[in-house]
């Protein structure tokens, strides 16, 4: 089992907590607020972006694994609808929609709205297929008749483009809802200096988000409590500083999103447990040097391992999707 965990950590395509928890909890909020929610498995889009070398069979395997991850997080098929991009694209009018949208957008704007994750913005390296990407994103929204499109903030340009296209075509404007990008454990300092957006602040946020190329910088849904603890121990966490501190960010986005109150466990000799009923309380205490970075890190590791227990249990009972993912590499 340990060996398998080690293998999994090196695999491309493993879900990390940025996707599983930031997106997962927001989706749960939306369902609770009465939304019909669709998790869209973008196989075509993955192919355009050359994920798994553009191999559709491998992409489907990864999509199935994704579906299992969300199911393990409580987003079962009775609560959300799962739709594959290839299902949507097989509808008779889909590609007409893509073309109609493409006709409202200049090539330059399409390039600028490209999914910017993990790539520098040099147009000479962009495949023409990539220009379809933002047009398809917009077409997906209208084809599924959506009121609200949710994504990380790095997708804002694609959503703005979809709104403009929809308005020009008389199809209406979807509301766009954007969540923050989750910082990697090394914080902003540990991220690459690539340019992902002409807005330099957004660019550094994207650069510091959990990058799959740095497993030690990322918590995967499958990480064992021991591994989570180990990764947190090495994480960037400057004393008294909250700005750009990934651990503080995890409390704000994860710990307080899942719980009303957060208890920091501490040895009696260091003052015993501390209870916080809001994030700002914890933030103030940290700034005032009332919490030691080691305590902050160790407790977040414990809270996270607790949140992820259900996922570990699910994959212990359903190992097939993980085994399929391991086979991808061998193919």
């Amino acid at each position: 089992m340990l060996r398998k965990a080690a293998l999994l950590a090196q695999l491309p395509g493993m879900m990390h907590i940025g996707t599983g928890l930031v997106c997962g909890t927001k989706i749960k909020d939306m369902i609770q607020a009465g939304f019909h929610f669709i998790i869209f498995l973008a196989d075509w889009h993955s192919m355009i972006n050359n994920k798994f070398g553009g191999d559709m069979e491998k992409i489907e395997t990864a999509g199935e694994y994704y579906k299992h991850c969300f199911t393990a997080l409580g987003l079962t098929e009775d609560k959300v609808e799962y739709i594959w991009a290839s299902e949507l694209a097989s509808k008779p009018n889909y590609w007409e929609r893509v073309i109609r949208i493409a006709k409202t957008i200049t090539a330059q704007r399409a390039v600028r709205a490209l999914p910017i994750m993990g790539r520098d913005m040099k147009t000479q390296d962009v495949e023409t297929a990539s220009l379809f990407y933002p047009c398809m994103q917009a077409a997906d929204i209208f084809e599924m008749n959506l009121d609200v499109a949710c994504a990380g903030i790095d997708q804002r340009k694609a959503h703005v483009l979809a709104r403009e296209a929809g308005e020009k075509l008389g199809w209406g404007k979807p509301v766009a809802l954007h969540t923050p990008m989750l910082m990697g454990l090394a914080g902003v300092q540990g991220s690459d200096k690539g340019s992902y957006d002409e807005d330099s602040k957004l660019s550094s946020v994207i650069a510091s988000k959990m990058s799959k190329s740095k497993p030690e910088n990322t918590i995967l849904l499958h990480d064992s409590p021991q591994l989570i603890e180990e990764k947190f121990r090495k994480a960037y966490c400057p004393p008294t500083i909250v700005e750009g501190n990934p651990i503080i960010e995890y409390y704000r986005l994860l710990a307080f999103h899942e719980n009303e109150t957060v208890v920091l466990r501490r040895d009696q000799k260091y003052g015993g447990d501390m209870k916080f009923s809001s994030f700002s309380q914890l933030e103030e205490a940290y700034k005032a040097e009332k919490i030691h970075p080691q305590d902050l890190k160790a407790n977040m590791a414990r809270i996270l391992a607790d949140i992820l227990r259900g996922v570990r249990d699910y994959f212990d009972k359903h190992p097939e999707p993980l085994e399929q993912m391991l086979k991808i590499e061998a193919r």
Binding site: I39, F40, N49, G118, A151, I153, R156, V175, T179
Partner: protein
């Protein structure tokens, strides 16, 4: 659930809504509005 509670649930933890007034209108007009999140099948979110 009140409109305010629905709005609070939907907006909490977000960094941006384009546009908040439009979201409020959607929640007023529809009991079961439709929303989505797209995911590329390779760890990187979203599509």
């Amino acid at each position: 659930m009140s409109q305010e509670q629905r709005l609070e649930l939907v907006t909490r933890g977000t960094v941006e809504i384009i546009q908040p007034a439009e979201l409020e209108r959607v929640l007023e007009e529809k009991k079961k509005p439709r929303a989505y999140w797209g995911f590329e099948c390779s760890g990187k979110q979203p599509s």
